[in-house]
């Protein structure tokens, strides 16, 4: 038993601090956000979901998350529209945004950076990579 535990516990992540406690995850697949929510809970991070860009915008306005993470291709507003709308709203423009999507072309990546997106990440996304971005954010703040 102890060997099994030792092997599994080796996956423990770094202990560097993360200041983020509430993430708004915008993706049209609810299971995707649920999977991340289960894993992030261990790091004291709560996750709320929106299923399209328009719902994401209203939830950002009403819940004021520490970070918004959005997919790009979604029904109703796509992710890029959400990012643009957030950047144009004085109240919400300061919220760091990450884009997590299946395939992001170089030109689109550049455009997203110009719009002020903090991190552009591709699915499938390892939790360690996401945590590293959240730690970078904490360090910058």
């Amino acid at each position: 038993m102890s060997e099994v535990l030792e092997k599994l516990q080796n996956n423990d992540p770094s202990e560097a601090p993360i200041s983020v406690s509430l993430i708004l995850w915008v993706d049209d697949d609810p299971h995707l956000a649920a999977g991340f929510e289960r894993r992030l809970r261990r790091y004291g991070i709560r996750l709320i979901h929106a299923y399209d860009g328009m719902q994401g915008y209203w939830m950002a306005a009403s819940q004021k998350p520490d970070v918004v993470i959005t997919d790009l291709k979604m029904p109703k507003w796509p992710g890029q529209d959400l990012v643009e709308c957030l950047s144009l709203n004085r109240e919400l423009a300061g919220i760091p945004t990450f884009v997590v999507s299946g395939h992001i072309e170089a030109s689109n990546r550049k455009r997203l950076r110009e719009l002020g997106v903090t991190a552009v990440l591709e699915k499938p996304l390892g939790i360690e990579d996401l945590l590293a971005e959240l730690r970078n954010l904490t360090e910058r703040q």
Partner: protein, 424 residues
């Protein structure tokens, strides 16, 4: 010899000269006509109404292998239009001309002397001679055209497979992500639970061996608190359920992809078209899901249809992708509502019918007659090559003897109606 006699002899001579000239001119005209027919780039075949060959030019000799002398007097059904090739009995040109409009070019197959088949285009003109008719036909070898068409169809298929695979990669990516996250969550939860079990094990040992039960109970309680058992009770089964759902999603996409393009389907096989429609909707998910809801109304009593399943799935795919693109154009780049694609199947004793309706912009009157033309497209470069509907028509009409019709209303949408005969 009197003057009168001399005049008469001169007249006869003159008339004879005129006759000789006429005969010579007639011979020259016939030679010229013969040369026109013999130097024609197409085979020229002339028959009576019984299908007996009366004329057979050099190109016919070259294409089909019988010489002029061998062919003349034979019936068409004994030479190029054998019943097993044309599938049309022994009527030959008379049958062909009856089934199609006069003057129209008819695509069919012809036999050659060595027993091989050749795709040909036949243009027939009836000619009245007295009380009888002769049928004249120019027959054009369209082998190279057919090869080109087949290459284009293959290129189109490859293009759409490329497009589909990008979409399928995306559709598989998402469940892969959350199945992975859930599995790691279960792994972490297992570690937590093992620690709780260890603490409870210590408590049991304390009870059995007379150790410090209070301290062991306190360790068990703090291990349970740390593991957040209530949360695990509510989440572990959800994580398992969602993972299984994700694995099933991936499996159903892979299954649909395999069935969408069955290998070696060159012969018509009895096929469940409803399943073909469901598979095609699944493999094309990424093409429609951001712009439309897909609804189906499938006739569950639909009989098996003799068809080439891979080709027909390609037709349904082309029509679904077209519908999604039409809706995408209508709702624009910043949509607030999705459109609808409705797919229905139905059957009568002789036919099955598939209707694919979209709520896109419809097709303007000015171009509706051209949409089935090869390379006709209104889409941007890189979006469409103008082959989707041309191939759809070729598959439905030429390969399945069916019909493909379109009903459209500008601003409201378009319906494509495929009808296939139940007897292959």
């Amino acid at each position: 010899m009197t003057a009168a006699c001399a005049t008469t002899a001169l007249d006869v001579e003159t008339q004879l000269d005129a006759c000789r000239l006429e005969v010579q001119q007639a011979q020259e005209r016939e030679t010229w006509l013969r040369m026109v027919i013999d130097t024609a780039n197409d085979a020229f075949v002339s028959t009576n109404l019984a299908g007996e060959i009366l004329e057979w030019n050099s190109k016919a000799e070259e294409l089909f292998g019988w010489t002029h002398d061998e062919a003349v007097g034979k019936r068409l059904s004994e030479t190029i239009f054998t019943p097993d090739v044309s599938g049309r009995g022994t009527g030959g040109l008379q049958y062909l001309i009856k089934v199609k409009n006069k003057g129209q070019r008819i695509e069919t197959k012809a036999s050659t002397r060595d027993g091989s088949e050749m795709p040909v285009e036949v243009s027939i003109a009836p000619m009245r001679i007295g009380n009888s008719f002769v049928l004249n036909a120019f027959i054009h070898d369209i082998t190279s055209r057919k090869i080109l068409q087949s290459k284009l169809a293959h290129a189109h298929k490859m293009e759409s497979v490329g497009q589909l695979s990008a979409g399928i990669a995306h559709e598989i990516n998402t469940p892969t992500q959350y199945v992975g996250d859930n599995s790691r969550f279960l792994q972490e939860s297992f570690v937590d639970l093992m620690q709780v079990f260890d603490a409870y094990d210590g408590l049991l040992q304390a009870i059995d061996g007379g150790g410090d039960v209070g301290a062991a109970a306190s360790r068990a309680k703090s291990a349970a608190d740390e593991a957040d058992l209530d949360y695990l009770k509510s989440e572990v089964h959800l994580a398992i359920e969602q993972s299984l759902e994700g694995v099933e999603r991936v499996a159903s996409i892979v299954r649909a992809m395999k069935e969408f393009s069955p290998p070696g389907s060159v012969c018509k096989t009895p096929t469940d078209l409803n399943q073909g429609i469901r598979n095609t909707i699944t493999v094309a998910t990424h093409e429609w899901k951001y712009v439309a809801e897909v609804e189906t109304d499938l006739d569950e009593t639909l009989p098996l249809v003799p068809c080439l399943p891979g080709d027909l799935n390609q037709v349904i795919l082309n029509l679904i992708v077209n519908g999604a693109q039409a809706i995408g154009e209508k709702i624009g780049e910043h949509p607030t509502e999705k459109g609808r694609i409705h797919i229905a199947s139905a059957h009568t004793k002789k036919h099955v019918e598939i209707r694919i309706r979209d709520s896109g912009n419809g097709i303007p009157d000015a171009i509706v007659n051209r949409i089935f033309d090869p390379f006709f497209t209104t889409k941007d470069v890189g979006v469409g090559s103008g082959q989707g509907l041309a191939i759809a028509r070729s598959v439905v009409v030429e390969k399945h003897s069916g019909t493909l019709e379109v009903e459209t209303a500008v601003g409201e949408g378009t319906t494509f109606i495929i009808q296939l005969p139940l007897e292959g």
